[in-house]
Every structure is written in C-alpha cells, then in structure tokens.
C-alpha cells in the first residue's frame, strides 16, 4: 500500500487552528503525578513527564505498571488498555521535552518539611523558558497561591491552579484556580482539559487551601483532638463519620491515605496564611509524623498496614473513668 502525507488531501488551504489537546507535560511524577499521567493517557492524550534522573524515570514506570496491574486485578482495566496507556507516557530529565506541550502541570512531590514555594517557582521558570507563548502552565498545589508562583513568569496570565484531589483517578472533581493575572482563555482551556479527562470542574478564585484542602484538614485535626481526649478509638471515630455521613473514608483513614507528612505541610501553609488555631496541626499528628508513621505509604499511621491491608490501630484508646 502506498503511504502519503494526509495534508496533500486537505480541501482548504487555510491552516486549521489546532483545536485538540495533543500533549500534556508533567513536572514531577510521584504518586499524584503518576495518577494524573494515567488519567490523561487513558483519555487518549500523550503525556511527557520530567523527573530528576534516569533511575527515577525507570522507577516511575515500575510503579505505574504496578498501579495499573492492581486496577486490572480489580477488573477496572484490560491488558490491552494498559498497553495503550503506557505507550502514551514518556519520561525525560530534560525540560525541552515538554516544549511542544499544550499544557504543563507542575506536580512535584516534595516530602521535605517546610514550604515548597521556591522549588515550584523554579519549575515555573524552567517551563516557561522552553514552551510556546500560549502554553498554559499549571500547578497542582492547593495551599500555595498561584499568583505568587506566577510572579516569576514573563506571562503570568497563563498560570492556572489545577488541583487534583486524592485520588486523581477515582475522584470526580478538580479545582481550577484563577490567579490575579490569569486570563479567561487560560481558565477556559484548563476547564476544557479537565472535562476531557472526565472531571467535574469547580472554578474558584485563589485562596489558600481552595475548598477541598481547607475543609478536610480541619476535619482531620478535629478527629485527632477527639482521639487525643480519649473520647473514642480511631476506628470508632472513622466508623461514625463514614456510616453517619456517608463518607467514603473516615477522617483518620483519609489522613493515612493522603500521608500525614502532606497533611502537616498543608496545615502549616494554611496556618501561616490565616494565622488561625484551627489550622495548627494537632500534637498527635506531629508525634506520629516524627515517629516516621506517615500513613499507608510507610505501613503505619493512625492504623497499621500489612500488604496494603489494615491490620490494627497505632493508638490504643484508654477508657476514661471518672470516679
């Protein structure tokens, strides 16, 4: 069969405006980055991610493989769909590989204590240096202010917050955050992108913690307070909230899933921003964190996990009798 370029058969000579979304860039491919990569690739869009080293990139593919196999084990995906997803994801250590992306999302995963503001600014700067003038640059942060990240850009109007909630794959919603300088075209582009990958879009004006983080950390913190006072065990607090209010997970179980290190970082950022006591991490949260009990990922948080299954509680709750 002869092969020819398709452009020779165009009916109109005018150059068509590029309508579709062809390629998405991700900077940082930790847990959340991988979930976003999977989600985007599953919707037929190519993903180019940047990470620190070739070794790390190889690790990312091992982790992605494992995650997709887990989903196959739960009947959520077929082998051929997995192959198609993986074929659309590429990794690189070189920023120039995202130069032709339509949108680049910063999803760095900084587990070190303290704010990641400067690191994220650096990412924004490096991305802008290689991409087209109309490429949207987004950040997955929820507690840092998008305008502040955008301040390092020559074109701050293209910066948008795009916050995927944990879990990015099964969660039905994303928060699209408009900064001080963000223009309408960028917001609309990101809204369209989020809808393409099957999410309900909540667009909001920038505020630390958006809606999701601001509300969930307060619930987690109050659950810690309740646990600390000896009112009830972790599993009973969770069961009450889960069954009583129809939540998918109880607040402490949720904290273990998010990662206590992340919860503390969010709270510190919000405390710094609002100065309100309700955002000050509870001592139990800090104690567990210092012990290295960061939740599911480390095998221990409020609960003890073995092979991904919950097998016990870390904190035994003494019954408080007053005689």
């Amino acid at each position: 069969m002869t092969v020819e370029p398709i452009e020779n058969y165009a009916l109109k000579t005018r150059v068509r405006k590029k309508g579709g979304l062809q390629k998405v860039g991700l900077v940082g491919c930790g847990n959340m980055g991988q979930e976003i990569a999977h989600l985007v690739a599953r919707n037929g869009i190519n993903v180019e991610f940047i990470d620190l080293s070739d070794e790390r990139i190889a690790e990312v593919f091992i982790e992605l493989n494992q995650k997709l196999d887990d989903i196959i084990g739960k009947w959520g995906l077929t082998e051929s769909e997995k192959k198609a997803i993986l074929s659309r994801i590429h990794g690189s250590t070189d920023y120039s590989s995202v130069s032709d992306c339509d949108i680049v999302i910063e999803t760095i995963n900084n587990r070190k204590p303290g704010t990641s503001l400067e690191i994220r600014k650096e990412v924004f700067r490096k991305v802008e240096a290689v991409v087209r003038e109309d490429t949207v640059i987004a950040s997955n942060t929820s507690t840092l202010i998008i305008s502040e990240l955008a301040s390092v850009l020559k074109h701050p109007e293209r910066a948008v917050g795009l916050h995927f909630l944990p879990s990015a794959i099964s969660g039905g919603v994303v928060e699209v955050v408009r900064g001080l300088h963000t223009n309408q075209a960028s917001v609309e582009f990101v809204e369209k992108f989020a809808r393409t990958i099957g999410k309900k879009v909540i667009t909001l004006f920038e505020s630390p913690g958006n809606i999701s983080t601001r509300l969930i950390v307060v619930l987690i913190n109050e659950a810690c307070e309740t646990l600390m006072e000896g009112v009830a065990s972790a599993s009973n607090i969770d069961a009450t909230m889960k069954l009583g209010f129809g939540l998918q997970f109880g607040p402490l179980e949720m904290a273990d899933r998010i990662g206590l290190d992340k919860v503390i970082k969010w709270m510190n950022n919000l405390y710094q921003e609002f100065g309100e006591r309700k955002f000050k991490p509870n001592p139990i949260l800090k104690r567990l964190y210092r012990l290295g009990f960061h939740g599911r990922r480390t095998g221990r948080g409020f609960y003890i996990y073995e092979k991904g299954k919950r097998v016990g509680e870390t904190i035994t709750c003494p019954e408080v009798f007053i005689h």
Partner: protein
C-alpha cells in the same frame, strides 16, 4: 446517484461510497485515531487502488474533510466533483423512542438525537459530530440518519418493559430498545426473498452473531422482541459481554470485590462472555482451537454459547407462536459451522433440522439454505450488509423528498 455512508465512532470514521444505480461500492475506508497521536486514513477503491494517508487529524470535521479530499482527488479518487454526491447516510446508534424509522436530518431531528445522548453516551456524541461536520462541508446535500434501534420500535410494551418501578421508565426511558436493528431488518428480508416467500405472514428468528450478538423475533416483517436491552450487554453470551445475568450476581460481586461503578461496568463488558468463561480469548476461532486441544473451559464456553442461542430460539418460537425461518448472520453466524449446528441441535421438535453437509458448505460470505429437505423450518445463512441498508434508506428518503418537491 452516489451516496456516502458514514459511521462515526469516538476516535474513528468508517465510510463507503456507493453508486446506487448499480448498488455497487466505489470506495471504502476509514480514518483512525482521530484527535490522537498517529492518526491516519486508509482508502480502498473498487479497482484495487489502496492508499494510506498519514498525518494529524484533530477532529471529526478534519477527518471528513480529508475523506472528501481523497474521494475527489485525481490520484486515488472516485468522484470528479462533489456535485456527484446525491446524499449522505449516517449510522446513529440510539434513536430512543423518538425514531421508529430512518429520517431526513433537520435541525429538529438533531435536537432530538441530542436529547437521547444519555442513553448512549459513548456512541451518539460522535455520530452527532459526524453529522454536523458533514453539514458544514456539504451544506446543500441532504443527510439521512439510520438508527440501530429503529427497527425494534415495533416491539410491544409487554416485551420492552422491565419489571422495575414504572416511574423509572417514565423518568429516564429505561426499557428494552435493542440494537443491530439495521442488520436484523436486512437479513430477515433478504432471507425471505431468497426463499421466494413473502415477508408478510412469516415468523422469522434472526441471530446476528458477531463480536456483539443479538437475536430478534420478527413477525410480518416487524420486530416483536430482541435480546439486547437498554444497553448492548443483555441477551446472548458475547465475546467479552455477559449477556443475561442475575442482577444479584452483580451486586454480590460489587460487594465482595469492593468494586467501583466503573470497574463493575468493565467487568460485565470487557472481562466476561466467552473470554470470561474460557480464559483463552474473546475470539471464537481461538476458543475452538483450544477446545479441540482439550481445554475444558473452552469447551464449556462453546457449550454455554450455543445453549443460550438455543434457549432464545425456543423463547422466540413461543413468542411468535411458531417459526418459519431461522437466519444466521454476522462474523460467527456466517462462518461458524459448529455454532450453527450446536444451537439447533435437539430442536427437531420445533421442526428445525440442519443438514450437516449443507451447513459445512456455507461459509466465507456465502448465502444459502442449511436445513434438511424435511425440515419444516428453513434455516438460512445470510451475510449482513448494514452499509447497503443505510445507503438504500438514504436513497429512498431523498427520493421521497424530491418527489414531494416536484409534486408541490
């Protein structure tokens, strides 16, 4: 007159160009991977000319632009100019309760197709995109929509109503719609013509056995029942779909395996059916090979597959009050000698008797009678041709429209 038939999927467009004077295909092809990396178009002309066009195709409109481009090109084309195109026929998957037959597409029709998007969220939106793009490219050419569900709109309420709270039918239109209507209509009519009998007065059961599979009970040329339902997952066992299933099974699995809605959907649509039982493949040829080599689950899958068809033949014979003609079509129905023999095995009491010799002979796109001389029921293999039906419907509707214009 020349007619283009379009079948737009989420990321592909299949097309055929018909010369309706001779009912001949002049060119056929497809655009694949629309909006994705590595998109291409393949065009095959009836004189053997084949070309693959590679490059970016961002959306359906651009895909259609290239299809038209190649059809009028000097090198690989089949048309001198677009003026030769008399009409365009579109396959539309779901017509809901609104469309009982093929229709000329107007603004109102488009609105009505949009209204039933919820019933076929994967199929109707790309069908619509194809129509809109064609309208923009060829604004003066009449366009016709042919629905997969339309032929089954004659099914009576007692056969289409599910025994769920009636308010849910009223609220969401949840009922049996059925699919493959174009194919059931075509092969039942063709089979009667082939047998030299009138469509009227005939009791016909059709088995469309392809990757998706469904059966229909047809009396006097009208569908009175079909095995697929609100969605194409009900009825026969298919390549990867369950077909009929105790609903309790699904809620039990969801609870035991802690499945999400999406996973439950994938489970019944992609991991079940012949693939699920055999563990070998969803392809009948692989399963038959494994069964021949002694794979017990493959053998079980084949038995279950034929048994389900046999059950429906019995059920539809009862629904019709007898049966005159049984038709096999679709990739498996047209080629699989064993499936046909096993589905009819033991149905002599209904007057169905297969001639093993004739059954072995009819395959590879051939039509023919496979029942024995003394079989009261005529069993026919009839290759389906949905594209031709779409082209014929399109011609007929456009013809009617022209007559009206002349008459007025």
């Amino acid at each position: 007159m020349k007619v283009i038939v379009m079948n737009c999927g989420s990321s592909s467009i299949k097309y055929q160009l018909f010369d309706m004077e001779r009912e001949q295909v002049l060119a056929r092809g497809s655009v694949e991977k629309i909006g994705l990396h590595g998109s291409f178009l393949i065009n095959r002309r009836n004189d053997g000319d084949e070309v693959k066009l590679e490059g970016e195709v961002y959306d359906h409109q651009q895909g259609i632009e290239y299809i038209l481009g190649v059809l009028v090109s000097e090198k690989h084309g089949s048309l001198k100019s677009f003026d030769e195109i008399g009409a365009v026929g579109h396959r539309v998957v779901h017509g809901g309760e609104k469309f009982k037959e093929s229709v000329l597409i107007t603004g109102e029709v488009l609105d009505q197709i949009r209204e039933v998007i919820d019933l076929a969220p994967l199929h109707n939106p790309p069908n619509l995109k194809g129509i809109e793009a064609m309208q923009e490219m060829l604004p003066d050419v009449p366009q016709v929509a042919v629905f997969d569900t339309a032929f089954h709109q004659t099914i009576p309420p007692h056969a289409y109503t599910y025994a769920i709270p009636y308010t849910l039918y009223k609220k969401y239109g949840i009922r049996r719609y059925g699919f493959h209507g174009t194919s059931h209509r075509y092969v039942s009519k063709q089979a009667c013509e082939y047998l030299g009998c009138h469509f009227e007065g005939m009791k016909v059961i059709t088995c469309h056995l392809g990757n998706g599979a469904s059966m229909a009970a047809i009396r006097d040329g009208k569908s009175i029942d079909t095995s697929m339902g609100l969605t194409p997952v009900e009825g026969l066992i298919m390549g990867t779909r369950t077909g009929d299933l105790d609903l309790g099974v699904l809620t039990y699995i969801v609870q035991k395996e802690e499945l999400t809605l999406n996973a439950a959907n994938t489970l019944i649509n992609k991991f079940s059916g012949m693939l699920g039982i055999s563990g070998v493949s969803s392809d009948m040829r692989d399963i038959e090979q494994a069964a021949a080599e002694g794979n017990e689950r493959a053998q079980l899958a084949l038995e279950a597959y034929a048994y389900r068809i046999k059950k429906y033949i019995g059920a539809y014979s009862a629904a019709l009050g007898g049966v005159n003609v049984l038709v096999f079509t679709g990739g498996i129905g047209e080629n699989d000698v064993n499936v046909r023999a096993n589905s009819c095995d033991g149905l002599e009491f209904l007057g169905i008797r297969i001639d093993p010799e004739k059954n072995r002979e009819i395959k590879g796109g051939k039509k023919g009678l496979i029942s024995a001389e003394d079989s009261a029921v005529k069993v026919v293999v009839m290759p389906t041709n949905e594209e031709l039906v779409i082209a014929q419907d399109t011609m007929e509707i456009v013809g009617r429209m022209k007559n009206k214009t002349v008459g007025s």
